[in-house]
Symmetry: C2
Subunit: 455 residues, 2 copies
């Protein structure tokens, strides 16, 4: 076979999401109430999430049917191609076989709509008229705008003001899909007004934008809040990615040895690896590499403890690897990987040594992105370049050892909205941030000490 | 069948391009030498084009084999999907069935690489080390950079200075693929230096950039020039698009009634319709709509005469519909449709009434683009929006008459690099330009009068 792309037909799109919760190697610590330290219940989440998603959040069913209406939206861009990176293999001179699962083909350009269309659908069914969310650079805001547009819902996106002002293109993309982007902090919410009263020129932060989006949903009966990563139900929806890959590898007659993905909140990585984790836990030899930026080394240098998901301490406490919820990562260009924590499901797998975290500097991941663009012809997002870096390193090891390993990359998004970052790279202006241990220790001081946390 | 996309496998990519020249309804007037008024021969073109492309330019073979190496590059993104626009049909309430051939999935985001990879390949085989070309907004320059990068050639792109300064993203995309963009007029060529001597702050024009690119190729032994539209061999390479559509419509059990495409130089439109023109000339009932901007009404208001292809009068004379080679269209956002002439093959079909030209204003095509984005979820290039406008108009006619026609749209490219244009549209800043006849007559005065032109 000399095919470049392994394609499935629309009929072969998996009909169910895979829920890893019943198959975990250890129990998942529940989210807890920051005041009582008791596990939170559905009633705590009901003001901001629809009941079906709350059920999925705690479900122990191994498989969850994908509703027809969601399948219908998936068919706009799914199944996505699994591409064989023959040109990259040749450029590296490696005996390894490299594949990449291309989630950049969705209209918003990343894996994000896999959960956005599902969340929009369940909200619509429960009578919700409008979704609120926050966005940094705009990747998630555009995916949710796309999804709500297809479902006929309204969408309000609190966008970090500095991105709103400096990155107009993603904002316009949201507007094309009827999404309403509001610069945060804004005068639309109490929390926004309070910040503006003290700091009229505040550039905003993701923490502030979360506060505004949650408040907006909680104070309007017809609105709910939507989150693009971290939570179990978000990761669940993303498993469509890994399930497709399993079918595609079967068609290619391949058994994968190494999977490389990038982790910010963790949803893209979870979607890719969860169906394979099941095989690994059943005894299969498989290396699962989770990449992150050295500038935000959550999995490699954080501590596995209960912490808040947001800066403003509005969310329940989640057990995860964390650098502390007050940790402010430097302005690296992989905006989607600048998060102080990560999904509890991913963190559990890291704690259990099922996955191997690795951190990379900015310049080396852009080197990898360019090697990839100039061989494969595809320009990736800065987040995705971390996964490519790991894959290239593994392929070069194979060159030394002569091993013919099969390597899979999670190609989570394209870089068409990130060309300003490439410009800095070309201009040799990218800074490689590294922390001495005392800086990490200092950041970790914002993690609350919970004596009576559930095991 | 309720499939959203009609997909072919890689094995089903057509193995040959279709050459319309032996099937034309009337003889094609040859390009002529501006001084002698005699048809130009291969020796005139040899300094700037490789021999294989010169042969294709005049070939009367109905089918031309696609080399394996080109097929291999096509497989990076081909076959492209034929999508059924069910959501658009529903939004319009039309009984028509609407399909669109999605050429936006190529890495550079348009149909342009269909010819770029072929041209790069033939040049490489003949020992060329570097290609030169011009680009306006950067669509063609990025496609040729992509192609030369895959083939291991160098690429020099003379980019109109005002675009170079104002639109850095396409320039960076070229750089990602090793393409070297130079602001034109530049100090790299005699023609560029001459302009700069008189106008040091010249914003440049496509005419000037062509002069520089041609001079660069003609004065360097290892370099040739590459053109992205207008010429017969360029249109030939694009027929891969229409040939795939024919296979896909067969799979869908459809017979198309109306095809809508947009015409700038004409290569995208030609690629889509030429295989169908053959059927139409054989007696089949088929409406072929060629759309263009009212601001640059070449086919609807130009004259069918010999004219220069460029402002600087460097090219041979081509028989085409023209507004005069000195015509300067206003700065509409469909940059790819701002050309005073069009491909001679397309113009011949227009003169013979095989195709139906229609002109549209900016605001109405952006209306159509938004209707499309908000139903289908896909954000198109401003050029493509012209084709969508025509298709929506035809679908609305079907709504009135109850006819269940099958309508096909040439979806030539995405709009991710055109969000500044959408911003103007949202801000109601787009101007609809219309010309009184005396303005057109004035523009036509730059067309040379050729008494002894071949018939």
């Amino acid at each position: 076979m000399d095919e470049t792309k392994i394609l499935l037909s629309e009929k072969e799109i998996p009909q169910r999401w895979y829920n890893i919760q019943p198959d975990l190697p250890a129990p998942l610590a529940p989210p807890i109430n920051p005041k009582t330290h008791k596990p939170i219940g559905p009633e705590d989440l009901a003001p901001i999430f629809p009941m079906e998603l709350i059920k999925q959040e705690v479900s122990l069913e191994p498989w969850i049917e994908i509703p027809n209406e969601v399948m219908d939206m998936y068919r706009v861009w799914r199944p996505t191609p699994l591409r064989r990176a023959r040109r990259l293999e040749k450029a590296l001179g490696t005996p390894a076989r490299i594949y990449y699962k291309d989630e950049s083909v969705s209209p918003p350009g990343s894996h994000k709509p896999n959960t956005a269309v599902a969340q929009a659908y369940y909200n619509k069914v429960e009578g919700v008229k409008r979704l609120t969310t926050e966005t940094g650079a705009g990747q998630w805001g555009s995916a949710l705008s796309f999804a709500t547009c297809l479902c006929g819902l309204e969408c309000t996106i609190y966008m970090v003001r500095i991105s709103y002002d400096q990155k107009p293109y993603r904002k316009l993309l949201m507007q094309s899909w009827n999404g309403k982007a509001i610069a945060s902090p804004s005068d639309q919410t109490n929390s926004g007004r309070a910040i503006l009263a003290d700091y009229p020129d505040s550039p905003g932060s993701l923490g502030m934008a979360i506060s505004e989006a949650v408040e907006d949903a909680a104070t309007h009966d017809d609105a709910k809040y939507s989150l693009g990563s971290v939570l179990n139900h978000v990761l669940l929806h993303q498993t469509i990615v890994g399930l497709e890959v399993q079918e595609q590898l079967k068609l290619a007659g391949e058994k994968v040895d190494i999977i490389c993905g990038c982790v910010g909140g963790g949803s893209n990585y979870a979607g890719l690896i969860f169906p394979f984790v099941k095989e690994k836990l059943a005894g299969r030899d498989l290396t699962l590499i989770a990449t992150e930026p050295t500038a935000c080394p959550t999995l490699t240098r954080g501590e596995f403890r209960y912490d808040f998901g947001d800066t403003a301490q509005l969310t329940p406490l989640l057990k995860m690897f964390t650098l502390g919820h007050r940790f402010v990562p430097p302005p690296i260009h992989a905006g989607g990987l600048r998060y102080h924590g990560a999904a509890p499901l991913i963190c559990l797998l890291a704690a259990q040594k099922v996955i191997e975290p690795r951190a990379y500097h900015q310049n080396t991941v852009f080197d990898a992105a360019l090697t990839f663009a100039r061989s494969e012809g595809m320009l990736c997002a800065p987040e995705t370049s971390h996964a490519i870096r790991a894959a290239i390193d593994e392929a070069l090891k194979c060159k030394e050892t002569g091993e013919e390993k099969c390597i899979l990359i999670g190609y989570s998004g394209h870089g068409f909205f990130d060309l300003a970052a490439y410009e800095k790279y070309f201009g040799k202006e990218l800074v490689d941030y590294e922390y001495p241990q005392e800086k990490i220790d200092e950041a970790l001081q914002s993690v609350p000490v919970i004596e009576d946390a559930p095991e």
